[in-house]
């Protein structure tokens, strides 16, 4: 049998569709995910450019205009001190994004590092790290974090005060840093285990997959194997859980504020606005509704986006 030259007109390839382009294609068809993406982008824009958008300062009080219902002058009304709720919600967006991004970043770094060590180096690191992870995931985490926050707040404040007295450095007077430091630290403490588990599982499963063996058999360098095979395959699930994690961090921060251990007033956060609103919701429902709605919207948006990304990046599950 003679070999036949293939007809060039038929073999001519369309440009190959990359993993990411393909994922974007799938994501675009998912209406909920696109809605989520839109809201997230909008909120991120508000968070970054917030101060230029608000008609009032979030602290400026107008005692003549207290507890006003929403109007054109005050889109979300005013609170019990006559502060513009819209401006406070906008600044709250800033706080929420700051907390969410920083906490997720810290958790991601800790989780990825530990997970990768456990996956790559195996025993005994694997056992120790997994024990830590299991432990962190098997205690009621909210309780633990609230305890940490509640107990460390005063000692750190005292220490800062002492430092100020000793050095007169005005930095130590900025008590707002205590809040952020504690909130970031304690939230990251309970947020890293899922990332560690995920990364370890990914490393373990990718390492033994036939295509890695095949790539090694082809004599590809470790760097190329990492960049072209391991990273793209591990990145998908990680992106999905980061998207979900950002939303969770926002809700968690508001939960802290609700219990009185989060970011302290007067720094506006959705959580402490909600807990303030809860006390008077029978009379001034807008004080609860505005921050609760925005928090819900943000959280739902991240949740939709994460779910859409999950479907888009794991095409196997969507057939």
């Amino acid at each position: 049998m003679t070999l036949v030259q293939p007809n060039p007109a038929i073999i001519e390839e369309e440009p190959p569709v990359s993993l990411w382009r393909d994922a974007w294609h799938r994501l675009r068809r998912n209406k909920l995910a696109i809605f989520g993406l839109g809201v997230v982008v909008l909120l991120a824009f508000v968070a970054i450019s917030g101060p230029y958008l608000t008609p009032y300062d979030f602290l400026s009080q107008d005692l003549a205009a207290r507890n006003q219902a929403p109007s054109l002058a005050h889109l979300f009304g005013t609170d019990d001190l006559g502060r513009d709720v819209f401006s406070r919600v906008v600044y709250g967006t800033r706080t929420a994004f700051l907390v969410a991004v920083v906490v997720t970043a810290i958790a991601l770094v800790i989780g990825t590092t530990l997970g990768a060590i456990a996956g790559f180096f195996g025993e005994p690191y694997d056992r120790i790290i997994m024990w830590l992870t299991d432990m962190a995931m098997s205690v009621p985490n909210l309780l633990l974090v609230v305890v940490i926050n509640a107990s460390l707040k005063n000692p750190i404040a005292r220490w800062m005060e002492a430092q100020y007295m000793a050095t007169l450095n005005p930095f130590y007077r900025e008590t707002i840093w205590i809040d952020f430091f504690l909130v970031f630290g304690s939230m990251a403490l309970i947020s890293w285990p899922p990332y560690a588990r995920l990364v370890r599982a990914q490393v373990l499963s990718i390492r033994t997959r036939p295509y890695i063996t095949a790539a090694m058999a082809l004599g590809l360098s470790n760097r190329i194997i990492m960049m072209r095979y391991v990273v793209p395959n591990a990145l998908g699930p990680l992106i999905v859980s980061v998207s979900a994690g950002l939303g969770t961090a926002m809700v968690l921060e508001s939960a802290f504020s609700f219990l009185g251990v989060g970011v302290n007033p007067p720094t506006p956060s959705w959580g402490n606005m909600i807990s303030d609103g809860l006390r008077v919701w029978q009379h001034y429902p807008h004080l609860l509704a505005a921050p609760a709605f925005v928090l819900g919207l943000a959280s739902v948006a991240f949740s939709f986006l994460g779910d859409g990304l999950n479907d888009a990046l794991n095409p196997r599950g969507t057939k």
Binding site: M1, L3, V4, N7, I10, H25, K319
Partner: protein, 335 residues
């Protein structure tokens, strides 16, 4: 082996077209296939992976995956169109009149259900048997397919059996309700060579005993030589040749069939002889060439092959041997 009652058709498929709803729009996978199975006849369906042979059979039972749909054609079974049946009627056919044996017995059996329960299901739903009766029949069936210690096996889970034993269980499930037709979709691909032969012998034996029709799908022409009465060769979703089995081996007509037969190594080959192969690859669905789908790989390709699609035409006097090839027909007319 000769065709018995080949005139009386049990299954008659006409112009069956199956399309997949792909990312770049719909693409044809099965392109207007005609095939038929006589009562008591064994039909071998041969083709490379991806030629649409499994999808053709799945489409008969309306078991196609979500994005794949039948767009044209009819499939009459015992005088009724399978594609137009109500789901209720269809359910009676599935597992009742038509038994199905799938390719991979590992994944095709439910891993968390005992063999006995899986085997009793068709009996309970089609024969309305009581559980105890169904179990008695299940033991008979397991004995029929040659499983030792059938009573204990009923309590086993699939992972506790070997691959060959699992495939025997699959066959027992397919045979449970004395079907008129058994469709076996590459039932030996996942098995060792020695076990393959056992399974082929088993099906041959059962067919002779029970007198049913069999459709055996495979990519292995050699495997069905001793099993089938008639063979249909598929290429890229079209029938390229349809012939009684002896005729096909003695006198392969379509260049693709010849290529397939030439690529089977034989003991008489010189030890240094190179194994013959067909150059190129089959077209992807949705990128089928105009004209004959095999033309780009065909050694006999002519101009007309790239313009027009050849029809399946008789090339023997009896009309039982048919091929879809311009070159073959031209040679016949010239002769």
């Amino acid at each position: 082996m000769t065709a018995r009652n080949a005139q009386e058709r049990l299954l008659d498929v006409k112009g069956l077209t199956v399309e997949i709803d792909g990312r770049r729009g719909p693409a044809v996978i099965v392109d207007g296939i005609d095939l038929h199975v006589g009562k008591g006849e064994t039909l071998g369906v041969v083709g490379e992976s991806g030629c649409g042979k499994s999808l053709t059979m799945l489409s008969l039972m309306r078991l196609l995956p979500n994005k794949i749909k039948v767009t044209k054609g009819t499939a009459e079974f015992d005088g009724r169109d399978l594609h137009k049946m109500s789901t209720r009627e269809l359910r009676k056919v599935r597992g009742g009149d038509i038994g199905f044996v799938f390719q991979d017995p590992m994944t095709s059996l439910n891993p968390v259900m005992r063999i006995g329960d899986q085997l009793c299901e068709p009996l309970i739903y089609h024969r309305k048997m009581a559980k105890a009766d169904a179990r008695k029949r299940a033991v008979e069936l397991l004995r029929l397919v040659g499983i030792p210690g059938p009573e204990e096996r009923l309590e086993a889970y699939p992972h506790e059996l070997s691959g060959g034993m699992r495939q025997r269980v699959m066959i027992a499930i397919g045979l449970a309700c004395d079907p008129k037709l058994l469709i076996a979709d590459e039932p030996t691909t996942a098995l060792d060579v020695t076990i393959q032969a056992q399974i082929v012998d088993l099906v041959k034996d059962l067919r002779n005993k029970l007198g049913m029709s069999v459709v055996w799908i495979t990519h292995d022409l050699a495997l069905i030589a001793g099993l089938a009465d008639r063979v249909v060769v598929l290429y890229a979703g079209t029938v390229v040749e349809d012939a009684p089995v002896d005729d096909l081996y003695a006198n392969p007509s379509h260049p693709y069939t010849r290529g397939l037969l030439a690529s089977i190594p034989t003991l008489s080959d010189a030890p240094t002889a190179r194994l013959s192969s067909i150059g190129g690859t089959p077209p992807e669905p949705g990128r089928r060439p105009a004209g004959c789908p095999f033309a780009p790989r065909c050694p006999l390709a002519m101009d007309i092959c790239r313009r027009e699609v050849p029809k399946l035409e008789p090339i023997s006097s009896g009309g039982s041997h048919r091929a879809a090839c311009f070159a073959v027909n031209k040679a016949l007319k010239a002769a």
